[in-house]
């Protein structure tokens, strides 16, 4: 990639033009707006904006609905207040401590509750918000009860006390810019895609190597941190806090802004400006603001189903944009450096890549699998066939780690893997496609495939957020790898199309490309040919052969007999959860047991 120094800065500016506009707006705001009142509005907006950055990632990207972020907001505010007023600590220090302690609270909450299903988690966060409010109201000795805590000192920069509104506004503006920058970058890169993947298809996300629990937990704590900082900021601005500011209304307002605002930060910010600006300006209607928000939410979602984010080009809600509008950063494919390794080229290995012995699995009393034993050698294609309900997908899920067998051993590349989670299996070199299309909706083809490259990257939230140096290099590498995978499957022209707009057959290929991008040693394919017409099936057959030639072992479950029989080196037949035959396609098609299993018997 060519990277002369000046163009670095220019490209940076071009990528982040929205931030620059934001900075300019923030700088100009107090200068243009002379009234004290509107500056206050600006400050309130800034506080919301900071909260919004964290919430957008949490709710819009990762799909976690939190009705209790007021708890973290309150925690930051109260801790900051208590530490400065009662313990006399420096406000900056107290802010940092408040944030840290809040993160601990968030983590403690996430451990038992984050694994719940979305609806239950939402209920639990509702409970959390209420608990915080009630504690603030009732622990009078600590929190001042209903009267709150007065006399909170202003922040200082050296000798300057930040007591003037414009000073506070600029300070908060800095926070806003920083967090918007951070979360924008996170959203547009590897982690943002991972969150989107988790939201749209958690199963597939796990199969791609994403440790869902860990990622969500970290994100949740991040959003708590951000809210806590905003809470501290509130305390040092109004110099007085009381429980009133930390009710369900706050959490709900935040949620509405993020929902209406749509899939990216800018939409949410725009919504915040409209909603909060409006309600603050028309102070007389303050009490009616909640009703107004409610109305806006309902109307907004009918008129603007994607949220305001459609107005902003970036972000994942890009359905209506044609490919020409986006300048793709295609790696220069003429450059041999970029085409160095075609997808995979493993040295042929000897021995068995996968060994299953005596696998049994029950579902509520019925035996889905019983005593299944089979092994697959490196570089083979093994087909698994069997009538409906024979347990084929169950077997794949056991290998993949989605299900734990009751009995039996699974040895993958000489490692015992029973009990490993799907993302751990992905890390060990296992790729998977699914029976029904499990692509990540709302993302383009290439973004979907880039999720397959998730494990190639290592940037955490901070590095990903700052997005320079190693992190950018990682992004480029992931993009290149994804492109190569698409090339291999002939999908390059569709790279920037949103995945829902593709035909069914193309979607199946994208799923395959995504699994290939993981550079797996073993690929599990669940009915890759279902729904394909004869031309597409031919093409699939060819592709699978090429994949095997690259050194990847394939196990495929299929109903399309001509395909399986012509492609497989080995065929394994399941019926009622038992292996009834193993052999070459020739042998299997003549096996009496197999024929009986498929065609039935006279009854």
């Amino acid at each position: 990639m060519t990277s002369a120094k000046p163009s670095n800065v220019v490209s940076f500016m071009r990528r982040h033009w929205q931030i620059l506009v934001l900075i300019v707006l923030i700088l100009c705001f107090p200068i243009v707006i002379k009234t004290y009142f509107l500056t206050r509005v600006g400050i309130v907006l800034a506080l919301f904006a900071v909260n919004i950055t964290g919430m957008t990632l949490l709710t819009r990207y990762a799909g976690v609905i939190s009705l209790g972020h007021s708890a973290f907001f309150a925690s930051g505010a109260y801790l900051s207040a208590i530490l400065t007023v009662r313990a006399g600590l420096n406000p900056w220090l107290s802010m940092a401590i408040a944030a840290g302690v809040t993160v601990v609270f968030a983590y403690l909450f996430s451990v038992p509750f984050l694994k719940l299903r979305r609806a239950y988690l939402a209920m639990a966060t509702l409970g959390l918000g209420e608990v915080a409010f009630l504690l603030a109201k009732d622990l009078t000795e600590i929190t001042g009860g209903v009267s709150g805590i007065p006399g909170i000192p202003y922040l200082r920069l050296g000798r300057i006390v930040l007591s003037e509104d414009w000073q506070i506004f600029y300070l908060f503006g800095c926070f806003v810019v920083f967090f918007v920058f951070l979360t924008e970058n996170i959203g547009q890169t590897r982690l943002g895609r991972a969150y989107h993947a988790i939201r749209t298809n958690e199963t597939a996300a796990k199969a791609m190597g994403i440790d869902v629990q860990w990622e969500l937990s970290r994100l949740f704590c991040f959003s708590a941190l951000v809210s806590a900082l905003a809470g501290s900021m509130l305390a040092h601005f109004i110099t007085f806090i009381s429980p009133e500011s930390f009710t369900l209304d706050f959490s709900f307002t935040l949620l509405i802004i993020v929902i209406i605002g749509g899939a990216n930060i800018w939409g949410a910010l725009a919504t915040a400006i409209v909603l909060i600006g409006f309600s603050e300006v028309f102070r007389g209607l303050q009490d009616l603001s909640m009703g107004f928000y409610g109305l806006l939410l309902i109307v907004g979602l009918f008129v603007f189903p994607e949220g305001l984010a459609v107005l902003f080009r970036r972000g994942y809600a890009r359905r209506k944009i044609s490919g020409n509008d986006i300048k793709p950063i295609l790696p220069n494919l003429q450059n041999p450096m970029n085409r160095q390794t075609p997808v995979q080229n493993l040295q042929p290995k000897k021995g068995k890549i996968l060994q299953l012995s005596n696998i049994s699995k029950n579902f509520e009393g019925t035996e889905a699998l019983s005593e299944v034993s089979v092994s697959v050698g490196y570089n083979q294609i093994m087909g698994i066939i069997g009538p409906n309900g024979a347990g084929k997908t169950t077997l794949l899920n056991v290998i993949n780690g989605f299900l734990t067998p009751l009995e039996g051993k699974v040895i993958f590349q000489n490692i015992e893997v029973v009990g490993k989670t799907p993302h751990e299996m992905a890390r060990l070199g296992l790729g998977r496609t699914f029976q029904l299309i499990n692509l990540f909706k709302g993302m383009t083809v290439i973004e979907n495939v880039m999720v397959g490259c998730h494990l190639k990257g290592k940037s955490g939230m901070l590095m990903g957020g700052l997005n320079f140096g190693r992190s950018r290099h990682e992004e480029t590498m992931i993009r290149n790898a994804a492109m190569r995978s698409l090339e291999f499957l002939g999908l390059v022209e569709r790279a920037y199309d949103v995945v829902e707009n593709l035909s069914y057959g193309e979607q199946k290929l994208v799923e395959l490309a995504r699994a290939l991008a993981m550079e797996p040693d073993l690929l599990l394919l669940d009915e890759p040919a279902s729904g394909l017409n004869s031309v597409e099936t031919e093409s699939l057959s060819d592709i699978l052969r090429r994949i095997r030639d690259r050194g990847i072992t394939i196990i495929l479950v299929e109903h399309n007999m001509p395909l399986v029989m012509s492609l497989s080196d080995l065929v394994f037949v399941l019926d009622f959860g038992r292996g009834i035959a193993l052999g070459t396609p020739e042998e299997i098609s003549r096996d009496k047991e197999v024929i009986r299993a498929y065609l039935g018997q006279e009854v």
């Binding site: 609806a119 608990v131 939410l297 309902i298 979602l301 009918f302």
Partner: protein, 290 residues
């Protein structure tokens, strides 16, 4: 000591009845539509403030006023169903998101109530006087009998409805196996409507009958919704009997906490119960694992 316990018991049953009714409404709607109707408590509030308008301000006799309140509640619930819930479900919005949006509907109703009645608590006279009666040492006002009595009647009628009428059975079936319900040709949209009507009646009744005891006003809705919510969560999100049980459990915990420990912790205990249930048995006491 015994008098205290009986007193707490009495208030437990009274409060618990209201929460039970809230939970019941939520469960009925959720069973058919999978939507958590967050405006349930607000509908109850509507019942209460309408009663205030008709009975206290308008001096219309109860016999007329209460049915009118119920009609208003049903109308608003149906409006939410047709304007908000059904269109969004048809567009493929997930039930969880639709549930969030019903919060918006609740907010609008609250706003309307605030515009019409202001923010102050509204007093509604008790239905049959305020003279407390002594029962085994516990002091009980007549309105409490109205509350518990009407709750029992509602529960009885509900049981009858679901066990004896074909609509009730069809609604049970719909909650049980939506696929089969469709294949059997059930008029699914109508069944949805019946659930909303039912929830509105139950909510409106709770609102009107409890107004004299605990002041009514525009903010009452949120609190009631949360309690109903917790009741449904404790009992099992699809189980009507569970919701009733849940409501009573909350009533007990609140009452005895307030009595023996501190009344400040009353609401806190409810939330803690919620969090415990969600963590340990998310499907509720009587729900099935999903």
């Amino acid at each position: 000591m015994v008098e205290y316990i009986l007193q707490f018991l009495a208030s437990a049953i009274t409060e618990g009845s209201i929460y039970a009714l809230m939970g019941l409404g939520l469960v009925i709607i959720h069973r058919s539509t999978e939507v958590m109707f967050f405006a349930q408590g607000t509908i109850a509030m509507v019942g209460g403030v309408t009663l205030y308008a008709l009975f206290t301000q308008g001096h219309i006799p109860l016999v007329v006023a209460i049915p009118v309140c119920l009609i208003v509640c049903v109308t608003l619930a149906l409006a939410s169903q047709w304007i908000v819930v059904l269109p969004l479900l048809d567009r493929g919005v997930s039930p969880l998101n639709v549930s969030i949006i019903t919060i918006g509907a609740a907010m609008i109703l609250e706003m309307a109530a605030m515009m019409l009645f202001g923010k102050d608590p509204l007093a509604v006279a008790s239905f049959s006087g305020d003279k407390p009666m002594k029962i085994f040492g516990a002091s009980i006002v007549p309105q409490e009998f109205w509350i518990v009595g009407s709750t029992l009647i509602v529960l009885f009628l509900t049981l009858l409805f679901f066990k004896r009428t074909w609509i009730g059975k069809a609604m049970t079936g719909l909650g049980d196996n939506p696929l089969l319900a469709k294949a059997s040709g059930f008029p699914v949209r109508w069944l949805f409507t019946y659930s909303f009507v039912f929830a509105a009646l139950v909510g409106g009744l709770a609102g009107t009958v409890s107004a004299p005891i605990s002041y009514t006003g525009c903010w009452v809705g949120t609190r009631l919704t949360i309690k109903g919510f917790v009741a449904a969560a404790i009992g099992g999100i699809n189980n009507p009997l569970g919701a009733v049980l849940g409501g009573l459990i909350i009533g007990f915990f609140e009452s005895f906490t307030a009595g023996f420990i501190s009344s400040r912790l009353k609401d806190l205990i409810t939330i803690i119960l919620l969090l415990l249930v969600l963590r340990l048995r998310p499907q509720g006491l009587m729900g099935e694992r999903q």
